[in-house]
Amino acid sequence: MPKSSGYGLLIDYEYCTGCYSCQVACAQEYRWPAGMSGIRVIEVVERLPKDREYLVYLPFPTELCILCAPRTKKGLEPSCVKHCMAACIKYGKIEDLAKEMGKKPRMVLWSPRA
């Protein structure tokens, strides 16, 4: 099994608005053609009891996510993190992010292939 880089992305999907900035920011940074990016935004409409729904967007890191190694080496934030319109992506050590995750619900922690 490949080893984890020890770093990851913490997404607060309560606040992700589905603005697609992360997806395009990554494509710009690494010059991916349309259809490819380190992160892809997914829309989920959850159906709930009593004819109610909840609308969620979730940015999903793909096999192309390298956790912005060239940027983080220079002390810069990953491009998706920097541009996220809702400021709802956090980059960091998985242990630190896991602690953050305990503070509020509706979060996911990704450990991409990197």
């Binding site: 606040y15 608005t17 395009v24 710009q28 409409v45 491009s79 319109m85």
Partner: protein, 816 residues
């Protein structure tokens, strides 16, 4: 990427992201080419963030289809045959052709047509006014985007206002003067990277993280609706009734700010019960002024004059009555009954008990009550609205009701409320509602021929545009004078802003000479005689003072022979106007931003600047401090100096002075017969993070986000029509039909479909009859022109009727 890398700090404002801008960006330039764009982390507006459309700029600026040279038509109109010409040839040709029209028919015979986006307002006026034409036209029916709202708010309170998300304070949320709103009503606005009202949409997310609760008003389950404390799924077009319902709850439960109502509104002015008009000093005394109003002084038991120019009562120690009926003697001795404005206002509000409002809006009664209470009890609370408010014929009475909400709850110009928004430093480029600009038409005389100006009040007081619907008619009727030419800039009436687009095609073809200025060929540019290549925001110098901060746009690159709109128009304006007084565009910018005390160069060095506290364009509590009126007296810039719950301006126009609801023209209620045939409410124009209206379909990173024109339809409705997700369907009504792809989703209610707008296919053939396939999927074919409100503003764009059926096999292949 570090070698030879130059970083230019600048400000977004359209062409590119398409929006009205405000974001600070860093453009990374290598060998004169844009290699990357990032949000400027130091900029207080976006704090490093950036939307998908702006992040896609590298695919935009050097796109292979970008227009990079002026073009002249060599075939028939619409045949798609062009010849490249030089700028000199283009300017000479335009000067000659437009000059000839001016000589033969007068300058008003050329319409200068604009859309939204790009910093076009001032520069199109610059050219039109230098040429001598008053006919600057925003090409949407009823001018139904933003300026009606501004005009309506100005009617009530003399100045516009927006959600206060601390944007006037450089330290933003951390500034001690700021208060986070306890609640925001998000009224007909959805988040995906749309920044209307010159408010960065995601500020609301920042505030939610700091505790703000949301009341969402939208027929669709938007992102906000999903996360709202209360979500009101109203029937589109019934916003006015809902606002009246809120007022009903707030007033009858005593949840309003009585002190504000008494002190700052015209609530105690008297209304004549015989005529229904405001009682004026001239009614009481022969030599009295018609500009002064009258209140009932309970202390003296007699009427007392409100002196509008001094913004005070004639007598001291007045105790004006807020409520009640009285009798006064007119100067001719007649005794008439009068009532206070507040009594009249409350009578109107009482026509809207929540039960009735629930019946009109289809929103459950309890939710209306819950929302009204939450808004009124939250201190501060704010309202942020979107363009659906403009997109209904009764826009003005709707806005009167909503503006009354923030006024009577004491949320006007307070931290975290609705804050009065003026151009930063009062640096105004051209006349917009409520502001006089540097760029003006030469004489009042020249303005007399402006289309619709004599017919509609707001067009003579607030909105200095031609009336779009009348202008389109006039092209065909040639009455009262013929239209011979059109200058089209930032404007795509065939695909985007034009309702009934086939009529626009016919109209444009009827003209003698048409110039289009754009960045790419569009269905509209195909119909022009000359097409000029415009620049993106990265290729120009410019200024932005709308609303705050004052910012410079700084040129970072050049592309081909593209020119910024301002330079194109400046060059031609010089040719048309012998008295043209500016040497170059920097001199023009200097004059516009002069009130800031800076030159354009100085502003460029700073990047942005905030008006200091105490300046009329900086908050808060300006009406108390005497910062709003030219005479520096406390109060507002309205005829009475007060917030007018009973509008003296509307009275002057012969229109209902008080907020109320009017049923729109094409709804299940107003058209029960049509509704039988077309049993679904058709709403249009929901926003997409990928597109700004009709733009960006050719940008690969954006097109992949939303590749096809969609119509959203509820799963149950889809099932009953045997329509599956992703199938092509016809959306049809009495006007026509268009082909859209079904997105089956419970985001929309069962009784409504939402059709996306602005669709054409840059990948399809340009020449007629194709025009990039624009008539296949342009939903505006289902929306008529000519149904504007009584004051000429607003149009029924978000509430029509339609039916849906599946596209049969052979018809579907072209798009599928």
């Amino acid at each position: 990427m570090t070698e030879n890398l130059e970083v230019v700090r600048t400000t977004t404002w359209s062409a590119g992201p398409g929006c009205h801008g405000g974001c600070g960006v860093l453009a990374y330039i290598k060998d004169g080419k844009l290699v990357k764009i990032e949000g400027d982390p130091e900029h207080p507006w976006n704090q490093g963030r950036l939307c998908a459309r702006c992040l896609a700029m590298t695919q935009y600026v050097t796109h292979t289809e970008r227009l990079t040279h002026p073009l002249k038509r060599i075939g028939q109109r619409g045949e798609g045959k062009w010849q490249q010409i030089s700028w000199d040839e283009a300017f000479d040709l335009i000067e000659k052709k437009l000059g000839k029209i001016r000589d033969e028919f007068g300058p008003e015979s050329v319409i200068f047509s604009m859309g939204t986006g790009r910093d076009i307002g001032p520069w199109i006026c610059l050219l039109a006014y230098a040429y001598g034409s008053p006919n600057v036209m925003f090409a949407l029916s009823g001018i139904a985007c933003y300026s009606p709202r501004i005009a309506a708010v100005d009617t009530v309170q003399g100045d516009y206002c927006v959600l206060d998300a601390s944007q006037w304070l450089p330290a933003r949320y951390e500034d001690p003067r700021y208060k986070v709103p306890e609640c925001i009503i998000v009224w007909g606005y959805n988040i995906p990277a749309s920044c209307p009202d010159n408010v960065f949409g995601h500020w609301i997310i920042d505030l939610m993280k700091r505790g703000t609760k949301i009341i969402a008003i939208d027929p669709r389950l938007t992102w906000f609706a999903s996360r709202a404390e209360v979500w009101l799924r109203l029937r589109p077009g019934t916003d006015g009734a809902l606002a009246m319902g809120f007022l009903n709850v707030i007033i009858n439960e005593g949840l309003y700010d009585r002190e504000f109502v008494e002190k700052w509104t015209n609530s105690s002015h008297l209304v004549r019960s015989d005529t229904g008009k405001l009682l004026r000093e001239s009614d009481l005394a022969k030599d009295g002024s018609p500009d002064n109003f009258v209140a009932w002084d309970t202390k003296r038991g007699a009427p007392v004059v409100w002196d509008s120019s001094n913004v005070e009562y004639r007598l001291s120690d007045v105790q004006p009555a807020l409520e009640g009926s009285y009798e006064v003697n007119l100067f001719d001795g007649t005794r008439i009954p009068v009532k206070t404005v507040w009594s009249v206002f409350c009578e109107e509000v009482n026509r809207y008990p929540v039960e009735r409002v629930s019946e009109i809006t289809w929103v459950p009664k309890d939710d209306i009550i819950k929302a009204a209470r939450l808004y009124a009890r939250s201190k501060p609370a704010s309202i942020h609205w979107g363009v659906p408010i403009d997109m209904t014929p009764a826009i003005t009475p709707t806005v009167q009701a909503i503006a009354a909400l923030w006024c009577i709850t004491g949320n006007l110009d307070v931290p975290g409320g609705n804050v009065i928004s003026r151009f930063a430093f009062d640096a105004v480029a051209y006349a917009l509602p409520g502001a006089k600009g540097v760029i003006k038409l030469k004489s009042k005389e020249a303005d007399k021929k402006r289309i619709g100006a004599s017919r509609y009040g707001p067009l003579n007081r607030f909105i200095w545009r031609a009336h779009t619907d009348l202008a389109l008619e006039q092209i065909f009727t040639e009455e009262p004078y013929p239209i011979k030419g059109m200058w089209i800039q930032t404007c795509n009436p065939v695909a985007g802003i034009g309702l009934d687009p086939k009529k626009w095609v016919e109209a444009i073809k009827k003209l003698d000479f048409v110039v289009a200025v754009d960045l790419f060929m569009t269905p509209t540019t195909q119909l022009a005689d000359v097409v000029l290549p415009a620049a993106t925001f990265l290729e120009k110098d410019g200024i932005r003072s709308w609303w705050v901060p004052l910012q410079s746009i700084n040129k970072a690159i050049s592309v081909g022979e593209c020119k910024p709109d301002v330079e194109i128009n400046f060059e031609l304006a010089k040719r048309f106007d012998p008295d043209f007084r500016w040497k170059d565009i920097h001199e023009l910018f200097d004059e516009i931003i002069k009130p800031s005390g800076m030159t354009f160069k100085e502003l460029q060095e700073k990047g942005w600047a905030f008006p200091p506290e105490g300046h009329p364009s900086a908050p808060y509590h300006r009406f108390e401090k005497g910062l709003l009126r030219p005479d520096r007296k406390p109060g507002f810039q309205t005829p009475s100096g007060k917030v007018e719950l009973y509008s003296s301006i509307r009275e002057e126009w012969g229109l209902e002075p008080v907020a109320h609801y009017e049923e729109p023209p094409f709804t299940p209620i107003s058209q029960p017969e049509l509704y039988k045939k077309y049993p679904l409410i058709l709403s249009t124009g929901r926003r997409s993070p990928a597109y700004f209206h009709s733009e960006h379909r050719n940008i690969p990173w954006l097109r992949e986000i939303e590749p096809d024109p969609l119509v959203e339809i509820h799963p149950d409705t889809a099932e009953s029509l045997h329509i599956g997700d992703g199938e092509w369907v016809w959306v049809e009504n009495w006007m026509g039909r268009c082909k859209l792809k079904a997105k089956v989703t419970p985001i929309v209610p069962r009784w409504m479909v939402m059709a996306t707008h602005g669709w054409w296919f840059p990948e399809k053939p340009a020449q007629e009859p194709h025009l990039f396939g624009v008539m296949e999927s342009n939903v505006n074919q289902l929306i008529p022109m000519g149904f504007t409100g009584k004051d000429g503003l607003g149009a029924p764009i978000k509430h029509l009727l339609c039916r849906l059926y599946k596209v049969s096999g052979s018809e579907g292949t072209e798009n599928a």
